[in-house]
């Protein structure tokens, strides 16, 4: 296994999504209500990860413009669910800033200016189930 494959394996574990399964049909991008705001489109998340362009994802606006509406997760025919890859990207950023996860009751106290709102929304939606 190459180093890149190992890194991707880690993302797979973190997101629960397998980017290799993507066939680039574009249904996620076709469904995305935030399309015009996304500098990296949903379908590109899989190919960026496979290629190892993690830095570009971390630096992207897209990771925070994603509304976490989960339309892509619902509609993906290959079970790649790019929304989860977006989530994983956010998580990598959050962890790099020292955080990992939040307890709901901690949230109001932590609502800081620089905390991206989308991360919260996403976390709530994700852990609701």
């Amino acid at each position: 296994m190459t180093q890149l494959e190992k890194n991707i394996e880690a993302i797979k574990e973190m997101s629960g999504s397998d980017p290799y399964k993507c066939m680039r049909c574009g249904k996620c991008t076709a469904s995305c209500p935030a399309y015009s705001e996304m500098d990296i489109k949903p379908h590109q998340f899989a190919s960026y990860i496979i290629r190892g362009d993690f830095e570009e994802l971390i630096e992207s606006k897209a990771a925070w413009k994603c509304l976490s509406c989960f339309a892509c997760i619902e509609r993906c025919p290959r079970d790649v669910q790019p929304g989860k890859l977006v989530d994983a990207t956010r998580q990598i950023v959050a962890r790099s800033r020292g955080g990992d996860y939040l307890q709901p009751e901690e949230v109001p106290g932590l609502l800081a200016e620089d905390l991206p709102q989308q991360l919260l929304v996403s976390a709530f939606r994700r852990y609701r189930r």
Partner: protein, 666 residues
């Protein structure tokens, strides 16, 4: 005077929507010779045919005109119907008022007028029709298969198993073809030679199969059921019956080490001696001497093989031998090659030994190949870490002088196969595939390709490679596009593999010409009908098997080979064939023996004979043309070429045709 019945078909609305059928009936009723005219919804139906039979009986009809679809569709039906009522089938004419009238016109009035004219012409012709009788020709119960690859092997085995004798003519020293060069086969990844060699051995041992290897078809004459074929058995320089295949000669040939003779079988990646078998499992296991390179044939010195051969099987004096054999059917299974890549300079195939074709990769991965199955770069014998595959090299290419307009069909699958096999052996290898489309229709095919992506993490990128640049450090710089991400990619590779377009074996043109079998713009053999007669050539008695007809993979080739065999068996099972009575005839009183007809006849059906004739009381000997009715296909070339009007085609006589034209122009 004929008593003609005219039957006008509605063909549902196919004809009736554009042609006023009732009006046609009324207008042709009073044509000369017509005693009965009627219309019906579907003339070809059981009820329609019954109507025709009843009319023949009631009115004592001697000729029929059916105004319906093209004679290609239903002439046979209506002829059989006439025969049922006791009428000679050649007294039936079909006026095509569908394909040549209703389908191509919009104006009903004009179309009706044209339908009437077409009917009139047919009526005028029937007035001159005479009963014709089909002849019979015998069938030689033996088949010839040209090409000994998997297609030819399977066809031959299937025919032989049905109890008929088959000969295979193969131009290489061994049968096996391309498949014997392959390492593994998709989508099951079983080893190619493991599934092929048992079939090769079976062919060799089958009591009904005769092998002509290192042989070529030289001349073909005759026709369906009765072909005469000259086969050139090239001098092997080995006495076939004495050779035990021990291989001593090949290991001792001095040119094996110093000769620099590239092995055709290993695609030039390895050298071979001048006396050689293409590969270890060759069938027959008898070597040949390559006379162009052999020192003995070039200088008269050496003779090592002859001295060392324990069974004294070397014969430098052997000559080519020509055998003539009769066949009932011929199958073309001449296979394929890949295109020459000289025109694709951008991929640096001729510049770097590390840019290879997929067939070369097959040899490099094969345990019996030049590297013993160890994948290595041909430049420095190092194992490549980064491999780039380029798809569609010359396929789907509209520029005629560079590539081929069609999809080569097998490349997507074999590339996925190669990628997986490499990853399986050497998991640290990075593999990138640049593609235009990934095309994987077929049972378990898409799953196979997805396995390469999902399980083996082969990196598929939509986009082509623009340039491969060999670098001073020995690596290759690949400049490509990633269209889905809208980027240009520059990456280093240790090896580049080109999926070169497939083309029919270049020798097929010559063979097709000998067989008068038609080929398309790309030299693939044409089918008699693309959908309904896919394994037959339009030339009767010629059948198609394998890549010679179009790109296809092994499972498809094997099914087509079986289908061709069934068609051959169906032909050989007959004791005789009905021959077309519409053949040319020579009026010896008019013929002046000028040979014009013989020169234009594509079937060699015309010969000359000296006959005694009485001309105004004088007996004289004249050279006149004679037509072999079994060979004549009724094309009519001789009738239009004959300067004295001596040649005439039965059923399409000059008089009948001019009368038809008169009726149209009336």
């Amino acid at each position: 005077m004929q008593k003609i019945g005219v039957f006008v078909c509605h063909c549902g609305t196919n004809i009736a929507a554009t042609v006023d059928v009732k009006k046609v009936v009324e207008l042709v009723r009073y044509e000369p010779g017509v005693v009965f005219a009627d219309d019906y919804m579907y003339m070809c139906s059981e009820a329609g045919q019954e109507k025709i039979i009843e009319a023949i009986k009631e009115y004592g009809l001697t000729g029929l005109v059916i105004c319906s679809c093209s004679p290609r569709m239903h002439e046979k039906t209506f002829r059989a119907c006439a025969e049922k009522a006791g009428l000679n089938p050649y007294m039936v004419e079909v006026a095509n008022i569908r394909e040549q009238c209703s389908w191509i016109h919009k104006d009903k009035e004009e179309a009706t007028k044209k339908a009437v004219i077409l009917a009139r012409a047919a009526i005028a012709k029937v007035n001159l029709n005479a009963p014709l009788k089909e002849g019979e020709s015998p069938v030689t119960k033996r088949a010839l298969v040209i090409g000994g690859g998997i297609a030819g092997i399977q066809t031959a085995l299937d025919i032989a198993d049905a109890g008929y004798e088959v000969d295979i003519v193969e131009k290489e020293p061994s049968i096996g073809g391309r498949m014997s060069q392959f390492d593994k086969t998709f989508p099951t990844l079983d080893c190619a030679s493991c599934i092929l060699t048992p079939k090769m051995v079976e062919v060799n041992q089958h009591p009904n199969i005769t092998l002509y290897t290192y042989s070529e078809v030289e001349k073909v004459s005759g026709y369906v059921g009765n072909f005469d074929v000259d086969i050139r058995k090239k001098a092997r320089s080995i006495i076939f019956d004495k050779c035990t295949g021990c291989g001593e000669c090949m290991t001792k040939c001095p040119l094996g080490k110093i000769g620099n003779i590239p092995s055709e079988f290993d695609r030039g990646l390895k050298n071979r001696p001048a006396i050689y078998m293409p590969f270890a499992q060759a069938v027959p296991a008898v070597p040949v001497i390559d006379r162009e390179n052999c020192t003995y044939f070039k200088t008269g010195k050496c003779g090592v093989c002859s001295k060392l051969c324990p069974s004294k099987a070397i014969d430098y004096e052997q000559q080519d031998e020509i055998v003539t054999v009769k066949y009932g059917a011929i199958v073309v299974a001449t296979g394929f090659d890949i295109i020459n890549l000289d025109k694709f300079g951008e991929y640096a195939y001729n510049e770097s030994p590390d840019v290879i074709t997929s067939i070369e990769l097959e040899r490099l991965m094969n345990a019996a190949g030049p590297t013993g199955g160890h994948l290595e770069r041909m430049s420095d014998h190092k194992q490549p870490k980064d491999i780039v595959f380029i798809q569609c090299v010359g396929s789907r290419c509209d520029s005629e002088e560079k590539g081929k307009p069609y999809c080569s069909k097998v490349c997507c699958m074999y590339t996925a196969k190669h990628a997986m096999l490499i990853k399986d052996h050497w998991p640290d290898t990075n593999i990138t595939v640049f593609y235009i489309d990934v095309r994987t229709p077929g049972k378990n095919f898409d799953e196979f390709y997805r396995r390469a992506v999902e399980q083996y993490h082969v990196n598929y990128i939509k986009g082509q490679v623009g340039k491969v640049k060999p670098q001073p450090d020995g690596s290759l710089l690949v400049q490509a596009a990633d269209l889905l991400d809208g980027k240009q990619i520059n990456m280093k590779a240790d090896m580049v593999v080109l999926a070169a377009a497939i083309e029919p074996n270049p020798g097929v043109r010559k063979i097709a010409t000998m067989l008068t079998a038609s080929i398309d713009n790309n030299n693939f053999l044409t089918e008699a009908h693309a959908k309904l007669r896919p394994v037959e050539s339009p030339t009767a008695g010629i059948f198609l098997s394998g890549m010679a007809q179009g790109p296809k993979d092994i499972p498809e080739t094997v099914s087509q080979a079986g289908a061709a065999a069934v068609k051959v068996i169906g032909l050989l099972a007959k004791d005789s064939l009905k021959t077309n009575p519409c053949t040319a005839q020579c009026d010896t009183l008019l013929c002046n023996g000028c040979s014009t007809c013989a020169n234009v006849c594509p079937y060699g059906a015309i010969t000359y004979d000296d006959v005694q004739v009485m001309d105004h009381g004088l007996r004289e000997t004249r050279r006149v043309a004679q037509v072999n009715n079994a060979l004549c296909q009724g094309c009519g070339a001789c009738t239009s070429a004959c300067p004295s009007g001596a040649m005439d085609l039965q059923g399409f006589s000059n008089r009948q045709i001019t009368t038809e034209v008169d009726a149209i122009c009336r």
